[in-house]
């Protein structure tokens, strides 16, 4: 028996060692396209000198050229030379090796990416083996580190001349020359808040919290909930797009259709919809940026002209990631994403749903509306707001989440009751009217299941989170329901 196993093992090793390179890997024909780097690329339509190019060749050049950038970004970050041989010719790669070595010895790390490329094909040789492109206005982003200490970030707008050769199936860079470069400042664009006086609610359907666009998506449920909200005197809802659930860089069209349906139904009920992007996303790495931007581009372009759209909440409570991901990483990511979403949709306001008032002044120049969440003692709200207003001048404010759980049980024996919750919302509505605040409460329903991504696995947190609704698990109004908006007083 044992001998049998040993013989089997040896023969397996022998068999493995006897496998040579298969033909597909020798000829690079294997399909290995994983989206890992998706900067925006738009080719100039102007004709080139030499042989006219067809789409297939242009696409092949584009793929390898972007891969060349990608391996450069990787080598900047890791000092690894992996992949450089595939995308740079013998002489060109030497230039990269020199710089990698220099930075490696001095422990200089550069996290970099490019956000946009506007190449023009200048020349394509008769035999299809040589191409010259000018890549105009490449938007580069870099974060500099020395001895693991963050120094500074840069956005630059540069133009490159590139000569590429087709060698054994790869378009390799032969010459690479930056011919123009300047600091890049994205265009500033402030959006006036058209839909003021927001009386809203953070919305999830009763049975599918944090999975609103999944298999159980039901138009009937949404229609009846939206009518209920409208009748309750509300005018806005906030919905969440989970980044991976929507297919990250390659947005899932089925989910997108469900989002559009949601907007259509909201429109029927005269509700505006605030869309929170990048829910459950928490990487923020520079090399992830282009994927995030591609995701945002697909989503924003799909619904930016919808009449029910109120605007964009870039990220829910990103300040909670400061500790684990680094404040400067998160802020740079947010700033870039605000610019990107504003560029894609210049007509709708953009905000960030900070988890508390202290953080809300961050990036206040960049957003159109300052959103903060408030789960503290309501009596401190007014004072805390004064500080914020003094820091942010006249920016419109939105109390994006507030509420109280009515959980009182095993995991929290001295918790709050339905009556406490009603009292809380009554006070909240009075305060909102007094301060003339835009506000959105948390949330319509009590929930049965809370995914671990929301508050973690701890049962006392989960149970608390299950009882924030104005309606209970059966859909019956709780005492607080009469205070869902000031209209029902």
């Amino acid at each position: 028996m044992i001998i049998g196993f040993i013989i089997y093992g040896i023969s397996a090793i022998f068999g493995y060692l006897n496998t040579g390179a298969d033909r597909s890997s020798m000829l690079h024909t294997e399909i290995q396209k994983i989206e890992q780097y998706t900067p925006k690329i738009s080719w100039s339509k102007l004709p080139n000198e030499g042989r006219p190019i067809d789409d297939e060749n242009r696409k092949a050049i584009e793929n390898d050229y972007l891969d060349a950038w990608y391996v450069m970004h990787l080598s900047n970050k890791t000092h690894s030379t992996a992949g450089i041989e595939d995308y740079f010719t013998d002489s060109a790669r030497q230039n990269l090796y020199d710089i990698i070595e220099l930075n490696a010895t001095k422990n200089i790390v550069i996290e970099s990416t490019t956000l946009e490329h506007h190449p023009k094909l200048e020349f394509f040789s008769e035999d299809g083996q040589l191409a010259v492109i000018t890549d105009h206005d490449v938007i580069e982003y870099k974060r500099l580190f020395k001895q693991d200490e963050f120094l500074q970030e840069f956005k630059e707008q540069s133009t490159y001349k590139v000569i590429l050769l087709l060698e054994d199936g790869f378009w390799r860079i032969r010459h690479f020359t930056k011919i123009q470069s300047k600091p890049f400042k994205p265009a500033e664009n402030q959006v006036e808040l058209v839909h003021k006086n927001i009386k809203g609610i953070n919305y999830y359907p009763k049975d599918t919290p944090w999975d609103m666009f999944g298999e159980s998506f039901s138009e009937d449920i949404l229609r009846s909930d939206f009518n209920l909200l409208k009748d309750a005197g509300l005018n806005t809802i906030r919905v969440f797009i989970q980044y991976d659930d929507f297919g990250n860089a390659k947005v899932n069209n089925k989910k997108l259709d469900k989002l559009k349906t949601t907007l259509d139904l909201a429109s029927e009920a005269d509700l505006k919809v605030m869309i929170t992007l990048f829910d459950f996303y928490g990487n923020y790495e520079v090399l992830d940026w282009t994927l995030n931007m591609k995701h945002a581009e697909t989503l924003v372009n799909a619904v930016k002209n919808h009449e029910a759209l109120w605007g964009w909440d870039i990220k829910n409570e990103p300040n909670l990631d400061f500790e684990s991901r680094g404040q400067s990483n998160v802020l740079s990511w947010l700033e870039n994403m605000i610019n990107h979403v504003k560029y894609l949709d210049p007509n709708h306001p953009v905000t960030i749903g900070w988890s508390n008032i202290e953080s809300a002044s961050l990036l206040s120049d960049n957003v159109d509306v300052i959103t903060f969440h408030f789960y503290e003692d309501l009596s401190t709200l007014e004072d805390q707001l004064k500080t914020l207003v003094s820091q942010t001048e006249d920016k419109p404010l939105l109390l994006g989440e507030f509420g109280m759980s009515s959980y009182n049980g095993f995991w929290k024996p001295f918790g709050t009751s339905d009556e406490d919750q009603a009292e809380y919302h009554k006070t909240a509505q009075q305060l909102i009217s007094k301060l003339n605040l835009n506000a959105m409460s948390w949330t319509l329903y009590d929930f049965d299941q809370i995914p671990k991504e929301v508050v973690g696995r701890l049962p006392w947190r989960k149970h608390l989170q299950k009882h924030f609704g104005f309606l209970d698990k059966e859909g019956q109004p709780k005492a607080a329901f009469q205070y869902i908006s000031s209209e029902l007083d």
Binding site: E49, N76, E126, L151, E358
Partner: protein, 405 residues
Amino acid sequence: MALKLNHIALLILFLTVFQKDSETPMVNDHFKLIDAPEVWSAGQDLQLKFKSATESKPLLYCSNSYGSTIIEPHLENTILSYSIPQAFTKKSGVLRWTILSGASEFNGQITIRPLQETAKIESYLGPPSIEAGGSDYTMLVVIPTDRYDNTLTNQTKVTTHRQFLEQQTSDSLFTFNGFAYQNFYSPRQSGRMLLSSSCIELNSKEYTVVVNPAIPTTFTISENRPHQFADGNQITTFETSIITDRNKNVVSDGTYVEFYITTDENTILKTSGLTINGIAKAQMIHPDTESYWTVKAYVEGISESNEITLHYSQVVEDFKVVFSENSRTISVGPIQSFMGQMIPDGLNVHARWFKNTTEITSATQTTVDGFVIFEFEDHVLPKDNYTIEIETAGQTKQFNAIAVW
């Protein structure tokens, strides 16, 4: 949804950020640029110098085509100097620099020029073979570089040289975007064209372009055979005239020519040959009965020949058939050719047995020394009376009511 603990942590973070910002001095008040050229020659040592009012030693970020780095300063007598590494000075293009000292930036850029020299000429030629006649061309792309592998400035003169047969020509080109290119159209004659280029006192190596003859034009064919008899044995050879393109260049050796033979029964036979010195030959065995052949040759899809007609006359006029006593063995022969000689081995003879009009069995054999013998055992051919048909060289003989036992 938030937790209160995080709020406290955030507040602390928030405050520290603000404190840090308020301490940052304005760079421009503290630095004065002394020496940072706008244009520089590749490879020369480069130092950026600033006059500093403080003892601080801010780092310098610098970035060129291939990457970025951070440079530490050297401070001496209030002069801050930054030595740009060779990896950055040797490559042409824009070199951006920024002093890293917090909120405000002191930055600029230097254009590094390639040297006006040629250390290497890279040429790319393609396609390597073209067709004579003046409509096809090959493209020569020339990329001269300096000793640091930088492409030269725009409008650098490149001279190309071309030699073909007795003729030598030169042309002047000017680089743009780092390269220059020229299309060389084919001459009327086929042959080998040599190309080279030179730039600032450096000559490239030599490149050869093969000028192939263009597509063949119409040609003629002829036949050659030992006799005109349909003996099924001798071979007829077909031959083309010298096939040329329209400029009278003989087509390349190995051009494939296919001969189509249409018989008087409308059967098509094919044979083919490859050209050597413009002539292709192909062969076909003679038919074994009288035939009229029409022959035409093609260079498939490109050109064709005239049509020729051949007549093969009948050789076998008659033959003997001898039955054994029980008619199970049939001897056919002698079969004789045009001079009375035995027909060469290999002529097909077919025999068929019929009961009434139903074919019972058949057999085909080839002649040996002018004879063929058919033999059948009784498990193949039961005892009975049969009609037997013997056919060879287009002649058929029928024997009725032969008793086989």
